[in-house]
Amino acid sequence: MSKEEKRQITEIPIGPYHPLQEEPEFFRLKVEGEKVVGLDIEIGYNHRGIEKLAESKHYDQVLFLVERICGICSTSHPFAYVNCVEEICGLDIPLRAKYIRSIVGEMERIHSHMLWLGLAGHFLGYNTVWMWCWKYREPLLELCEKLFGNRQHYAMMKIGGVRRDIDNAGGSAFCREMNLLLPKLDMLQKAIEDDPVLRARLKIAGTLPKKEAVSFCAVGPMARASGIDIDVRRDEPYAAYSMVDWTVPVRTEGDVYAKTMIRLEEMRQSVLIIKQCAEALKKAKGDISVQIKEVPPGEGIGRHEAPRGEVFHYIKSRGGTVPYRHKIRAPSYMNVFTNEYAVVGGTIPDAAITLAAVDPCYCCTERMQAVDGAGRQVYTSKQLIDICREKTFSMKRGKNK
C-alpha cells in the first residue's frame, strides 16, 4: 500500500469540453508520467428524453424524432425503427423500397466512415488527411442532397417503404459516383499502409483482444477489428442485403490500425452494395411503399447495422396511435466502455487516438451561419430553410443528376 501511495498519479481530463471530442463525454485519465494507469468514463451529460418523448408521439412522428438522435447516423435510427414497426405489423415492403433503403443505409456508412477517417487524421495531428477525406466526402453529400433532398436527415424512411423514389438517372448517378470513389479509397488505403509514421502510431495502439471485446459487448467495426465476426446485415438480413453480393471484413489484431483498415474495407463493400442495388433498382418495378392502416398490439425488435455498429430499437404497442414503450440502444453506448480496457497501459497520445477510434457519435450538421454587422443581412430560420430548399431545387434542375 505504501508503494501505491508513493506513485505520482495525475489526472488528465478529456472532456466534456476538449478539442479531442467536441461532445459531452468525460474521460478522466489517470496518468503516471506519460503512462495511463486508469480511466474513468462518465457519460449522460446530454440526456434528451427521446424514449419518453416517443411515447407521446404518433408512429409517423416518432420517425422524425429518432432521426434527430444523431446527426451522422441520421438514417440508422429510422432504419431500425421502421424495421421494428414493420415487424409488429408483420409487413413486407415492396422490392423497390428494399433496394432504396439499402442504398440510403450504405451511403450513410460511406460518408460516416469518411468523416471518421478525417477526424482520426486530425487527432493524430495530420490535418491534411482530415481535409482530404472531407473533400472526398463532399460529392457524396451533394449526391444525397440531389436525390434524397438533404445532405443529412434525408427522411427517406417511412413505415411501409420509402418516402422518395430514385429514378433510373438517379441510379446511374450513384454508379458513377461510386466508380469515382473507388480510386480515392485505394489511394487512402495505400497512403495508410505505406506511411511508416502512421503505422508506428496506429499499430499496437489501443489493442482490444477478442475476449475483452466480447465481454464489453463491442459492436460494429470495433468488434470486427477484434476478430468477432458479426454484422446484422448478414446475420439477420433485412432490406436488400440478402439479395446482393458482399462480404463482412474481419481482422484479428484489435488495434487502431485494424479498426482503420476495417472501416476502409467496409466503405469498399458499401460501394459494391450500392452499385448492385442501383442496377437492380432499374429492373425492379412497382410501388415504393405500402399503405398501413394501424399498428396492432404486440412487440417488435428492429435492428440495423449502423456505421458504428448495431442499432437496436424495441417497441411495445398496445394498439392505438402511439408506442407504449420505445427502447433504443445506440452502438456507441456499448463501444465507448471498451476504452476502459484499450486505453489503460498505453500512453497519452495512444489514449487520444484510441478514444477516437471508437467513433462516438457527433452531432455536427450545422450548415450556415449569419453574421450581424457591417450592413450584412441576418437570416431568420425561415429564410435559412428557404435558401436551403432553393439550393436543393437548383441542384436538382441544373445538370439533372
Binding site: T10, E11, I12, H18, P19, L20, V31, G33, E34, G121, H122, F123, L124, G125, Y126, N127, T128, V129, W130, M131, W132, K135, D195, V197, L198, A200, R201, T347, I348, P349, D350, A351, A352
Partner: protein, 301 residues
C-alpha cells in the same frame, strides 16, 4: 546605434514583420496542400492585434513573475538571434555573432516554455513542459553534431559572418555529401525546434490542449505566438546561412523560401509522433547520420 538595431532594424521590429509574412506563407501553403483557400495576407496581423487587446489572466496558484517573464524572455532572445542572423547576412564580414551564441539563444525559447509550463499550476501544462524538455534533449545532440560538419567544412569558422563569406568564396556546404546529410539532420531538428508536426508533441492540441501555453491568454500568449512565428522565420534563415551561404541576392530569398516550404510540407504530410518514438528517432538514426556526416567531413567528402 546598437539599440536602434536591436529594437528596429534588423532586430525585433524587422523580425516581427518577416515572421508575420512567414506565418502567412505557412498558413497559405498548408491551406493549398489541404484544398482550402487560406487566410488573407493581413490575417496574422489581425490575430496579433486581437491577442494584444485581450485580457491577461494569471491562474491562481501560478507564480506571476515567472508566468509573465517566460514569454518576454522567449521574445527577447529571438529578437537578438534575428539581429545576429540578419546583420551577418547584410555585412557578411567582421565580428557580428558567434554560431555558439546563436545555439545558446535558440535554447532560451525552449526554457521559457518549460518555465511557463512549470509555473502555470496546471497538470496539462506541466505535462507539456516535461514533453518539451524531452524533445529538446532529443534533438540538441544531432543538431550540434550537424553544426560540427559546417564548422569543419568552412575551415573552423565559428563566426557567422565568416561561415557565410567562406561559402560565398568556395561554394556552399550543401554541395558535398556530408553537407547533404547534415542539412537533412538540421531540417529534422528545426522541425522539432519550431514545434511543428511530427514533433509538436509538447503542445499536441488534441491530447494536452496546447501543453505549456494552456493557461496563457492575451498579450503573454501573443508573445509566445510571435516567438513561434519568429522561430519559423529564423530557423530556415539559419539553415540557409549554414548550408547555402546566406541570403545575398534574389536567389538567396528563393532558397530561403524553399527551405521554409520544405518545413511546411513535412508538417502537412506527417502525423504526430509519440514522445518515445521521437527520442528513439533522434538518438538513433538521426544522431548516427549526423556522426557519419562529421566523419565524412573530416575525410573531406
Amino acid at each position: 546605434m546598437i539599440i536602434f538595431e536591436y529594437f528596429f532594424y534588423p532586430g525585433i521590429l524587422f523580425a516581427l514583420v518577416v515572421s508575420l509574412a512567414v506565418s502567412w506563407i505557412d498558413r497559405k501553403v498548408s491551406a493549398l496542400v489541404q484544398w482550402r483557400v487560406g487566410p488573407p495576407v493581413m490575417q496574422p496581423v489581425y490575430d496579433l492585434i486581437k491577442l494584444m487587446k485581450k485580457e491577461t489572466l494569471i491562474p491562481s496558484g501560478a507564480s506571476p513573475v515567472v508566468f509573465l517573464l517566460a514569454p518576454a524572455f522567449s521574445f527577447a532572445a529571438l529578437g537578438l538571434v534575428s539581429l545576429i542572423l540578419f546583420n551577418s547576412n547584410l555585412y557578411a564580414s567582421g565580428f557580428i555573432g558567434d554560431i555558439l551564441v546563436v545555439v545558446y539563444l535558440l535554447v532560451v525559447p525552449v526554457f521559457s516554455l518549460i518555465m511557463a509550463g512549470a509555473s502555470s499550476a496546471n497538470p496539462l501544462a506541466s505535462l507539456g513542459a516535461s514533453r518539451e524538455m524531452k524533445t529538446a534533449l532529443s534533438y540538441e545532440l544531432p543538431f550540434i553534431l550537424a553544426l560540427g560538419v559546417v564548422i569543419i567544412k568552412t575551415g573552423g569558422a565559428l563566426d557567422i559572418g565568416e561561415i557565410i563569406s567562406v561559402q560565398r568564396l568556395s561554394g556552399p556546404v550543401i554541395y558535398s555529401l556530408s553537407g547533404i546529410i547534415a542539412f537533412a539532420v538540421v531540417i529534422l531538428c528545426f522541425q522539432a525546434k519550431m514545434m511543428q508536426v511530427p514533433f509538436d508533441i509538447s503542445e499536441a492540441e488534441q491530447e494536452i490542449m496546447g501543453g505549456a501555453i494552456i493557461e496563457y491568454s492575451g498579450p503573454p500568449l501573443g508573445f509566445f505566438v510571435v516567438s513561434r512565428w519568429m522561430l519559423m522565420a529564423l530557423l530556415p534563415l539559419l539553415a540557409v546561412i549554414l548550408f547555402m551561404g546566406g541570403i545575398g541576392s534574389f536567389t538567396g530569398v528563393i532558397k530561403y523560401i524553399a527551405v521554409l516550404v520544405i518545413a511546411i510540407l513535412i508538417k502537412n504530410t506527417n502525423p504526430r509522433l509519440r514522445i518515445n518514438q521521437t527520442l528513439r528517432l533522434f538518438w538513433g538514426p538521426v544522431t548516427l547520420a549526423a556522426a557519419a556526416g562529421v566523419l565524412l567531413a573530416l575525410l573531406g567528402l
